[in-house]
């Protein structure tokens, strides 16, 4: 099978059951695809979907919005069919039950982690880690959760490229929400780059194209700067 092949559910991928990975199932001793997506063969045979909803997995870092405050839990929308529950004891500090909505109001956005997940899909969240906190500045950008691995790239290569070029701090939640913090126009720039990734994630050679994208943007910026300078000089002369 050639690289980057598009796979349809039901396609037979291999006879070797031991290499069945995500997006596959075993039928009659053969590995079959269960998803519509792109074939990937690294150790295990997998089908990488091109779209789809976020299904929580234990340990995932996600960005959520507080939907409701109950007696001892915050109910958090994590962009999935299942709501997350953040118990009062999982808040970074010890707080009283009455003060819950003082610390996290309805509508507030938080960076949180999936602590536990049961077969009934009760999702327990935690914020007891230094990196987890309420998000009170910057912007949230939402893309399909299946594109997050592409946004991060091999060992974080893609995301660090965007960070470097835009001077923004970027945190990608596993649920498809991306927190971008920095200068307003830099955020716009970062969002342009992320949109490009989202649209072209299924086409190989993405990193190279993104580098080109940044180079183009830079040369354009230089041009506008020069024009601006010229205009200033002209204005001075006219005065």
């Amino acid at each position: 099978m050639n690289k980057r092949q598009i796979i349809i559910p039901g396609d037979v991928l291999s006879e070797d059951v031991s290499i069945a990975g995500d997006g596959t199932y075993v039928r009659d001793g053969k590995v079959c695809a269960s998803l519509y997506g792109i074939l990937s063969e690294h150790n295990k045979i997998r089908v990488v979907p091109l779209s789809g909803k976020y299904i929580p997995v234990r340990g995932d870092i996600v960005i959520g919005t507080v939907k409701e405050v109950t007696f001892s839990n915050w109910i958090v929308d994590i962009g999935s069919p299942y709501d997350g529950l953040l118990h009062i004891s999982e808040y970074p500090r010890r707080i009283n039950s009455e003060d819950m909505s003082k610390h996290l109001k309805v509508g507030e956005t938080i960076l949180t982690q999936v602590k536990e997940l049961d077969p009934m899909m009760k999702v327990e969240l935690t914020m007891r880690d230094r990196k987890l906190k309420p998000i009170r500045s910057g912007r949230i950008f939402e893309l399909s959760p299946s594109k997050i691995p592409r946004l991060i790239g091999h060992g974080g290569s893609m995301i660090s490229l965007i960070k470097k070029e835009t001077n923004c701090s970027i945190i990608a939640g596993e649920n498809g929400r991306v927190w971008i913090n920095g200068d307003d126009c830099n955020i716009d720039f970062a969002i342009d780059a992320i949109t490009k990734i989202e649209q072209e994630s299924h086409i190989p050679g993405l990193t190279d194209r993104l580098s080109d994208f940044f180079e183009d943007a830079k040369s354009q910026k230089d041009e506008t700067d020069e024009e601006y300078k010229k205009k200033n000089i002209l204005d001075e002369i006219l005065e």
Binding site: Y25, Y36, I203, D208
Partner: protein, 274 residues
């Protein structure tokens, strides 16, 4: 149109098809951007639009199942889809079609992966010309794949009927209205049947023959569904073919280096730099 005297003359049907020939089918994937998956399908003069949402929260809550997802299928005919204006809204026929269509696609979905959630399928018939339920099932199956819902395989569906005492594949309107039998079938690529209905009379031998014809028809439709799904992303990949090949050469030489470095890095990039 009144009943024609003869449906088949010299082995050619009213619309110029052979007895075992399907009407032309056109499939477009991902036509609705607010749906999780969608498909527009033309099957002869039939025009249907399928949209899939989910897995998502179940409303009303009492419908949810603790261990599996619920699959809901709504087949609806637009009031302008037939010659005489149809009263809008569900009726006895569309409730039945919705039920059998749901039962045709549900066994292919891995519902156990999404407990307490719902997968909603909407099929809207924009223009009808016999065989809308088969067109709806074909479209729904493609839309489900487009929504990246895990499935055992695609479902293909077509009808076999009897006119002038002869079995014919994929009835058109007049053949359906004045024919002797109509039998819609839906099946997996392996030939496992998930829907079989019959209107009219067929003998035992005829039924066997009809099933064989339907299997042949479904195979052809499966190919079209497959091609439509592949076509959707193939264009983009082909447009960038030169870059891709170049990138692949580079990637292959780099692969060994990359793989050794990826193992110890955090999947959620960005956090470690904070």
């Amino acid at each position: 149109m009144d009943k024609p005297e003869k449906f088949i003359t010299d082995g050619i049907r009213l619309d110029g098809r052979k007895p075992d020939e399907l009407r032309p089918m056109k499939i477009e994937v991902g036509v609705l951007n607010r749906a999780d998956g969608s498909c527009y399908l033309e099957f002869g003069k039939n025009k249907v639009l399928a949209a899939v949402y989910g897995p998502r929260e179940v409303h009303p809550r009492h419908m949810q199942k603790p261990t599996t997802a619920v699959v809901r299928f709504r087949y609806n005919m637009a009031s302008f889809s037939v010659e005489e204006r149809k009263r809008p809204g569900p009726d006895r026929r569309s409730v039945e079609v919705s039920k059998v269509s749901r039962e045709a696609v549900e066994p292919m979905i891995f519902t156990e992966y999404f407990p307490k959630s719902a997968i909603d399928i909407f099929v809207e018939v924009l223009q009808a010309d016999a065989g809308t339920r088969t067109a709806g099932i074909n479209a729904a199956s493609v839309a489900l794949a487009d929504a990246s819902i895990p499935m055992r395989g695609l479902i293909s569906s077509c009808a076999v009927g009897k006119v002038d005492g002869e079995l014919v594949l994929d009835l058109m309107k007049d053949e359906d209205n004045y024919g002797e039998a109509d039998m819609p079938v839906a099946m997996t690529p392996d030939g496992e049947i998930t829907l079989l209905q019959m209107d009219g009379n067929l003998t035992k031998e005829e039924l066997k023959k009809a099933l064989e014809m339907a299997t042949e028809g479904c195979k052809q439709i499966y190919k079209l569904q497959r091609d439509a799904l592949i076509e959707r992303y193939k264009k983009d990949i082909e447009e960038h073919k030169e870059e891709v090949e170049l990138a692949e050469v580079v990637a292959e030489s780099e692969e060994t280096i990359i793989e050794s470095t990826t193992d110890d890095t955090d999947e959620v990039g960005g956090l470690h730099n904070e």
